[in-house]
Symmetry: C2
Subunit: 397 residues, 2 copies
């Protein structure tokens, strides 16, 4: 067989996370590796009622082909929810996607030429490196601080010339870091000054369980694309997200979306619209927040009890992830092997760094484990870390 | 605003069909333009029952993230159905896609470098020109005869060097043409000899209402990708299809699929699996075939009554489309304007030709109109054709 693949396929490999998750199928392993929402938060009964109603009332329409942009009443609900978060958009500026991951792919398709300099955070969302990677850009990255990106580094990169900036300003995957209001304004100002497109990926924005809600950066810069998702507020398995863009960009996105898969599952758009219209979604999201806050608190407290000194962690105000930094010189890939022997798993941080750094970091997910599993798993991980630190020539205090 | 789009977006425009369909929203116009299945064929009640059962029995799982390859029991059912059609495949060789359109996009992503020579039929499926077009190949095309491609032309193109061959061997969109058994064997032999990958797009294969079932070309050439769809046998709005490929190609497809949208809607995979498992799908498909045969017969008979001499039509043995060829020198784009005045619409054929030819052709869909509408619409279209032919200096007999 002579399968002559495109050059873009040469540099990419199966997801490291995906391979790791296979290792952790073993039920005796407590896994903080995946990025799964808590299934207890899924509105199963309400979705069932919505599906029944949609099919009973307009089944033939709901099962037919539909428009590339998506079901307009669903786009109207999305626009209304943004208005409450300080962002004014028209339903015309919204396109329904197959999860926000497809929004990432579509922005790559629409903007990236081979060799273009694409700016991301350090670390950044792994699957964006994969999606954009297939369009063969040159990745550039800027350090992430507690309140958002290093502005001096951002300005240096903008000076050197970049095509676009991709970021997750709320409860970032993998770090849990959120941009402060001031950083949002500064980032927007810089991007506006340099005329650089911003891709603002916001799958976790509605899952803030502490602190003050902050407006999307899109409300401060017109030349941007905002990606949203129903994955964390309704169901991830449905693969339903959206993309917000001004008309000039939307025209191109529609062409790309149509070529890619014609339109997003229309039946599910109808079902989720019906679910949103018939239920108190804010109350539902409130329950998710309470649940995740409790799980985050449990993990932070367990870390306090079980991790040795010299190991640093973020304390996210929302979202699903917590970021751990080992002392310099220690490798989380090596720790992974020790941890598996202790029957606990996580994602080594290196995969989230466009520049291959970050060897001493790791990501923990707290939303898909019980309080007992969090306590036991963090104790095991603490033991693994101690063993690794003790086994090293480099003594850490 | 300074939106600096990727080069690949420069050459593409919104779908011509999409723009045409907007014109035909007017309810007084009888449209044979769309490519819609008959909604009377949708198993609305059975899908509702399947959705209820899946959510009741395994709701939390069905709404969670899932694997990139897709729900294995659904892939098993697909493999079993292929076995009956003369193709032996393992569920491991099947990946679930967001409609077969996504299968087209994924094969473009995996195989096409900018400038690669990609071979298609003349005419070919319009949305493939759009999907592949974004990977910037050089399209080459070979004429389609009554029983499949012109083999001498195929060999000439293979001699000149091509990266891949894309075709729709069953009841092609737009022509309705089907490859004969002999042509399948000859095409497979040539592709094998030249080591060229075949992308076999087969969304209509199960909708044969006349003649003998023929095995997929994939059963004769290993180095190929076969695309299938639930759109024509269950529901198009669900955007559920699949891709069959040998392991070497599948490895790359999985990477591309994961980067593109992680996985296909898992809830819908579960629902369609349940629907397929709990119902007599063959009886359901039998009803669709009977319905479409009746509609095709109605259109063919009406054409016999109302079209002037010198106009040629295909008589498809399955699928959804019929292809009309006007005498040389006449333009279906001009006819479109006349036809709209007569309150009837179709798709001018030119958009289906990679080389910009085919100005005297047009596509008619017969699956989404009642018998009355087919009779009245074809009469109107016959009048429009007569007016155009009469108005021409070139007299046709």
């Amino acid at each position: 067989m002579n399968s002559n693949f495109a050059d873009r396929m040469g540099s990419v490999h199966k997801s490291f996370i995906r391979e790791i998750l296979k290792v952790t199928q073993d039920p005796s392993i407590i896994s903080f590796g995946g990025g799964l929402p808590n299934p207890a938060s899924f509105p199963v009964l309400e979705i069932s009622q919505a599906a029944e109603a949609v099919l009973r009332e307009s089944g033939e329409d709901a099962l037919q082909y539909s428009t590339t942009e998506g079901y307009r009443p669903l786009r109207e609900i999305i626009a209304q929810r943004y208005a409450r978060r300080g962002l004014k958009v028209s339903p015309d500026d919204i396109l329904i996607t197959s999860g926000s991951q497809q929004g990432i792919d579509l922005t790559g398709k629409v903007f990236i030429n081979k060799g273009d300099r694409v700016l991301v955070e350090r670390p950044t969302y792994l699957a964006t490196l994969q999606a954009y990677g297939l369009y063969e850009p040159q990745f550039r990255s800027i350090p992430l601080m507690e309140d958002g990106p290093d502005l001096a580094a951002l300005e240096r990169e903008l000076d050197a010339g970049v095509k676009m900036y991709y970021a997750v300003p709320n409860f970032q995957n993998p770090t849990g870091i959120t941009y402060s209001r001031r950083k949002r304004q500064d980032v927007a100002r810089l991007l506006n000054d340099y005329g650089v497109v911003f891709v603002e990926d916001d799958p976790y924005g509605e899952i803030r369980f502490m602190g003050e809600d902050l407006p999307p950066v899109k409300s401060m810069t017109e030349n941007s694309v905002l990606l949203g998702s129903f994955s964390k507020i309704v169901s991830p398995g449905m693969r339903l997200g959206w993309l917000v863009a001004p008309p000039e960009i939307m025209d191109k996105v529609i062409v790309a979306k149509q070529a890619t898969d014609l339109h997003t599952n229309y039946f599910i758009q109808r079902v989720v619209h019906r679910y949103m219209a018939d239920n108190d979604v804010d109350a539902h999201i409130g329950k998710i927040k309470a649940l995740y806050r409790e799980q985050r608190d449990a993990m932070v407290a367990a870390i306090g009890r079980h991790f040795p000194e010299g190991v640093q962690c973020t304390k996210p105000e929302g979202g699903m992830f917590l970021w751990v930094t080992l002392p310099e010189g220690f490798s989380s890939v090596e720790l992974f092997d020790t941890a598996i022997k202790e029957r606990v798993a996580f994602v080594p941080g290196r995969a989230f760094f466009a520049d291959g750094s970050g060897d001493n970091t790791l990501r923990l997910n707290y939303t898909n484990s019980t309080a007992g599993a969090i306590e036991a798993g963090i104790e095991r991980l603490g033991n693994a870390i101690r063993r690794q630190l003790a086994g090293s020539a480099c003594v850490v205090r």
